[in-house]
């Protein structure tokens, strides 16, 4: 993993989480802004997947458990789409908060992924 990219990703995920929780508690249903924030979080996760696949070939080898890293990464990749689908099934203010919860979960998981890559 690339530490700077990981930090940027965690910041984006936390900001997306704060945004969605705040907008949700303000009573807004999922909208383009909050759903877009989750799409951004997902795009960065997919970028992280590409980085993880390419990095070892470029000399950036993981020193920790590779299978565990991918368990986290693949689980993380699945979370934003599930949150978005669930938000669209029942569109209430709380669905927007759920989007925020998903974004915060991603932030925590990415921190753990960095710890696993380089213990």
């Amino acid at each position: 993993m690339i530490a700077a990219f990981t930090i940027a990703q965690v910041i984006v995920a936390c900001l997306a989480g704060l945004l969605c929780v705040a907008i949700g508690l303000a009573g807004r249903r999922p909208n383009d802004l909050t759903l877009g924030a989750l799409v951004l979080v997902e795009v960065l996760l997919l970028a992280q997947l590409v980085v993880a696949l390419i990095a070892p070939a470029l000399g950036n080898h993981p020193t920790g458990s590779v299978p565990l890293f991918y368990v986290y990464l693949i689980s993380a990749v699945l979370i934003p789409p599930l949150a978005v689908v669930w938000a669209l099934i029942e569109r209430t203010r709380w669905s927007t908060v759920v989007l925020g919860v998903a974004a915060f979960a991603i932030a925590v998981m990415v921190v753990r992924m960095q710890q696993i890559w380089t213990p």
């Binding site: 009573g27 569109r91 209430t92 709380w94 908060v97 919860v101 998903a102």
Partner: protein, 163 residues
Amino acid sequence: MSGAQNTESPEAANTDGAAGAGAVARRTGSGVGRVLVAVYAVLAIAATGRSVFQIIDRFAEAPVAFLLSALAGVIYLVATIALAARLRMLAIITISIELLGVLVVGTLSMVAPAVLGLDSLDPFGRESTVWSAFGAGYLLVPLVLPVLGLLYLRSTAVRAAKG
């Protein structure tokens, strides 16, 4: 696709959850309960995934702790489903077990870690489990969540009785 939910205006729907409280018997899988279900789902995946990996990778290191962790993961999964599917009694039972588990195992992990086969108390360490040190490795969510869950179930029960 124009489902039933799309027939109401966004303005009217903005206040649902708050304004709708008390009008009907509250269902646990909707409204603010959705947030609870989401947090439970994340914790269930985190606890189950991690314990499965620990059991496959290093079961001999701390078998009691890892099995307890797997049990916790399964209970979180059942609680998530119970909350989402509005199985109130099952939700109360599983969430009560969680609260008991985090208190008992959390205390054991601090006072007598050897009973659980734990060498290290590092909440982020390789032997860390969901209930060790009261769930410190999971930002204490395992300690706080059952309390919130039971309070939520109680509040919806009161509303359901009034409705």
